[in-house]
C-alpha cells in the first residue's frame, strides 16, 4: 500500500492510470434561515469524470462544493466518496484536493513549501516531499519555481501552483471553485485547455464550479446546471447546448430567443413545413443566432421553420457579424454570421426585409420555467 501511494501520482502522470473515486450525493438539503441553498440535491459523479456545476450566483453551486469540501454543513442528506460516507467528517480527514477562487496560496511559504505542505501534514519525509513537489510542479508547467515567493508569481502561475498543491497528495477527488475567474480572457482560455489535458493525464474525478457557460462547455465531461438550489439539468456539453431541457437552461447557456411557438403569428413564423410538430401551447422554441440561415423569399424545404423579419441593425464585431432584426409579431431576433467578404456582401441592409430559416434539428422546444426564476440570494 505505501508503495502504491508513493508511485501513485507520478505513475498516473506517466501512464494515465485510473485511480479515481465515484462521488455519490443524495438528497442534500441546506437552508440558511429562510433561504434554501440546496433543495434535495442528488448527483452521481463517475470515476475520473470532469463534472461542472454551472449556475447563476445564489443557485447553490458553491454551497454544494463547500459541502463536499466540509466547509458547509448540510442539514440532511448523504455524500459518499467511493463507499465512504463523508458527511460530518472534518475537512482535513476527507482527502479532497481543492483549488480556491483566490488560490489561497500561503504567502509566508515558498512555492515549494506550499506544494509540499499537504505532504508534510501526512508525514512524508523531506526528500520524498521535495521530489514529489518537483514532479508535480513540472506537470503544471512550473518546473524550477520551488524557491520563488508567492508574491513574485503572476496570476496564471499562482493558479498553476494552486492546482499542483491540490493534486500532489493524490486526493480522492479534486474540487475547483471558479479557479480561472480572476484571469484575463486569453490566459483563461489557455489554462482551460491545460486543465483539460491535466485531467486526462491524471484521470482524477474533478468537480468544478463556474458561472461561465463557455468554460463549462469547454472543460466538462458533463455539466450540471443549477438554479434555486436544485439541479435543473445534467448533460454532456453538446447535448446541454443543443437540447436544453428548459427555458432557464436555454437562456443561461448561450444566447437564445425563446419564441412561444403555438401563439406566434403565422405572418412571422411559417410552420407549414413541420406538420403536427410544436402545437404545445406552452412550448417555447429555442432560436440560437448561429443556427439561423438567411434565405430567399421562395425557399421552402421540409423540416424548417421560417421567419419573416425586418433588419434593424448590422453590427460588425471583427470575427463575426450580428444582424439584429424584428419579427412582424414584435420579437427581436438576432442572426450571427461569419465576417468573410462574401458573407458581408450578401448581408441585407438595415430596413430591408429578411427571411430566416431554422432546421428542426437545430432547435428544441422547452417548457417555460422562468416565471418563478428565483431572485438572487437575499
Amino acid at each position: 500500500m505505501p508503495a502504491a501511494r508513493s508511485t501513485g501520482i507520478n505513475g498516473r502522470l506517466a501512464e494515465g492510470r485510473d485511480l479515481a473515486a465515484v462521488v455519490t450525493i443524495s438528497h442534500l438539503v441546506k437552508k440558511y434561515g429562510a433561504f434554501t441553498a440546496l433543495s434535495d440535491v442528488s448527483l452521481t459523479v463517475g470515476a475520473g469524470e470532469f463534472l461542472t456545476l454551472l449556475g447563476p450566483s445564489g443557485s447553490g453551486k458553491t454551497t454544494l462544493l463547500m459541502s463536499l469540501a466540509g466547509f458547509a454543513d448540510p442539514d440532511s442528506g448523504s455524500i459518499r466518496i467511493g463507499d465512504r460516507e463523508i458527511m460530518g467528517v472534518e475537512p482535513h480527514k476527507r482527502n479532497i484536493g481543492m483549488v480556491f477562487q483566490s488560490y489561497a496560496l500561503f504567502p509566508h511559504m515558498t512555492v515549494g513549501e506550499n506544494v509540499a505542505y499537504p505532504l508534510k501534514l501526512r508525514g512524508v519525509g523531506r526528500a520524498d516531499r521535495e521530489d514529489r513537489s518537483r514532479r508535480v510542479l513540472s506537470a503544471v508547467q512550473m518546473p524550477g519555481y520551488e524557491n520563488r515567493r508567492i508574491d513574485q508569481l503572476s496570476g496564471g502561475q499562482r493558479q498553476r501552483v494552486a492546482v499542483a498543491r491540490a493534486i500532489v497528495f493524490e486526493p480522492d477527488i479534486i474540487l475547483m471553485d471558479e479557479p480561472l475567474s480572476a484571469l484575463d480572457k486569453k490566459l483563461r482560455e489557455e489554462l482551460q485547455i491545460e486543465l483539460k489535458h491535466l485531467h486526462r493525464r491524471l484521470g482524477s474525478t474533478i468537480i468544478y464550479v463556474t458561472h461561465d457557460q463557455k468554460e463549462a462547455l469547454t472543460l466538462s465531461d458533463r455539466i450540471a446546471v443549477m438554479n434555486r438550489g436544485q439541479i435543473v439539468q445534467i448533460a454532456k456539453p453538446q447535448e446541454m447546448y443543443e437540447h436544453p431541457a428548459s427555458a432557464f437552461v436555454a437562456d443561461f447557456i448561450g444566447y437564445s430567443l425563446l419564441l412561444p411557438i403555438a401563439r406566434s403569428d403565422s405572418s412571422s413564423v411559417d410552420k407549414s413545413q413541420l406538420g403536427a410538430l410544436a402545437d404545445n401551447p406552452y412550448a417555447l422554441l429555442v432560436v440560437r443566432p448561429e443556427k439561423l440561415d438567411i434565405v430567399s423569399e421562395d425557399h421552402r424545404q421540409p423540416g424548417h421553420f421560417y421567419f419573416t423579419s425586418e433588419v434593424k441593425d448590422v453590427v460588425y464585431q471583427g470575427d463575426i457579424v450580428m444582424v439584429y432584426a424584428r419579427l412582424k409579431s414584435g420579437e427581436d431576433i438576432v442572426v450571427r454570421r461569419d465576417s468573410r467578404f462574401a458573407t458581408l456582401q450578401a448581408l441585407p441592409r438595415g430596413g430591408s426585409p429578411m427571411r430566416l430559416a431554422l432546421h428542426q434539428s437545430d432547435t428544441s422546444l422547452v417548457t417555460d420555467d422562468r416565471a418563478g426564476v428565483a431572485p438572487l440570494a437575499s
Binding site: A69, G70, F71, E90, P91, H92, R94, N95, I96, G97, M98, F100, S102, A104, F106, P107, H108, Y117, P118, L121, R122, R165, A166, F169
Partner: protein
C-alpha cells in the same frame, strides 16, 4: 516667471506650518534638553552620564523599567491574542460590540483607572476581601504598592493598544487560507499554528512593540500603584526635577530612554524587513 513663482510661494507657505510646529515644539525643545544633559554644576561635562554608570541605583532603575515593560508586554500578549482572535471569529455586530468593550476603558482617564485599581487591590479591597472570605488566605496580600499591582494596572491600560492593531491585522487575513490548509489535511490546531499565527505576525509584532515602548515611559501607574516600591525611569526624571531642580540629570535620563526606544525601533524595523523578505 518671477510673478508666477511669487504667487505660487504665497499659496504654498501655509503648508509649512506643520513643519514649523514640529521644529518649534519638538526639535528645539529636544535639542535644548539634550544640551542640558551635558551641563552639570554650570559647566559642560559628562557628569550626568557618568553618574548613571557609577551609581548602581540608576542601573537598577533602568533594568526595573525594562523588566516591568517586558513582563507587562508578555502578559498583554497572552491575554490580548486570544481576545483579538475571538473577536475576529465573531459576526460583525458581535465584533463591534466586543471592540466597544475593549475601547471603553481606553476612553476612560488613565488616572481614574489607576485609582480604581488602587481601590480594588488595596489591603481592605475587593480582591483581598474575597480571598479572605473564601479562606484562601489569612492575612491580606500585598497587592497594591507593589510590582504586582503596578503590573496589573499597566496590563489593563495597555490591552487596547495591543488588541486594536492585532485585531485589524487579523481582519486582513484571508480565511480561505485557513480553509485551504484544513482541506489539505491540517487539523484545526495545525492550521492555527502553521497558517493563522504566522499571518498575524506583523500585527502581533506591531502591537507588542507599541505596548513595550509605551510601557517604558509610564509614570502615573507605577507612581500610584507602586506606592514608592517601584521606581521607573520616568519617576526618577520627575524626582530630579521637582526635588533637586537638576535639569541636567533629568535630561540625561530622558536621552537614555530615547536611545533605548530608538535602538528598539531600529532593531524592530530591521527584523520586520527581514521577516517581510522571507
Amino acid at each position: 516667471m518671477a510673478i508666477a513663482g511669487k504667487s505660487h510661494g504665497v499659496r504654498i507657505w501655509p503648508l509649512a506650518a506643520p513643519g514649523i510646529a514640529l521644529v518649534s515644539f519638538v526639535v528645539l525643545p529636544f535639542l535644548w534638553l539634550g544640551g542640558l544633559s551635558f551641563i552639570a554644576g554650570g559647566e559642560i561635562s559628562l557628569a550626568n552620564y557618568t553618574r548613571m554608570i557609577e551609581n548602581s541605583s540608576y542601573q537598577a532603575i533602568i533594568l526595573r523599567t525594562l523588566q516591568l515593560s517586558a513582563i507587562v508586554t508578555l502578559v498583554v500578549i497572552v491575554i490580548g491574542y486570544p481576545t483579538a482572535y475571538y473577536i475576529n471569529t465573531r459576526s460583525r455586530i458581535a465584533a463591534t460590540f466586543l471592540l466597544g468593550c475593549v475601547a471603553i476603558p481606553f476612553w476612560t482617564s488613565l488616572l481614574v483607572r489607576t485609582y480604581a485599581w488602587m481601590v480594588i487591590l488595596q489591603r481592605n479591597g475587593i480582591v483581598n476581601g474575597w480571598l479572605q472570605d473564601l479562606g484562601l488566605i489569612e492575612r491580606p496580600l500585598r497587592l497594591s504598592n507593589s510590582f504586582l499591582g503596578t503590573s496589573v494596572g499597566m496590563i489593563h491600560i495597555m490591552l487596547p493598544f495591543f488588541i486594536f492593531p492585532l485585531y485589524s491585522a487579523m481582519k486582513q487575513i484571508d480565511m480561505d487560507l485557513v480553509r485551504a490548509a484544513r482541506g489539505l489535511g491540517a487539523s484545526r490546531t495545525n492550521a492555527f499554528w502553521q497558517i493563522f499565527v504566522p499571518l498575524s505576525g506583523p500585527g502581533l509584532f506591531a502591537g507588542s512593540l507599541l505596548t513595550f515602548v509605551l510601557c517604558l515611559g509610564f509614570y502615573v501607574t507605577p507612581q500610584l500603584l507602586g506606592g514608592g516600591n517601584v521606581t521607573v525611569i520616568s519617576m526618577k526624571i520627575q524626582e530630579n526635577i521637582t526635588n533637586y531642580s537638576d535639569w541636567g540629570a533629568a535630561s540625561a535620563l530622558g536621552v537614555v530612554l530615547l536611545v533605548i526606544v530608538g535602538v528598539l525601533l531600529f532593531g524592530a524595523s530591521r527584523l520586520g524587513a527581514r521577516l517581510g523578505a522571507q
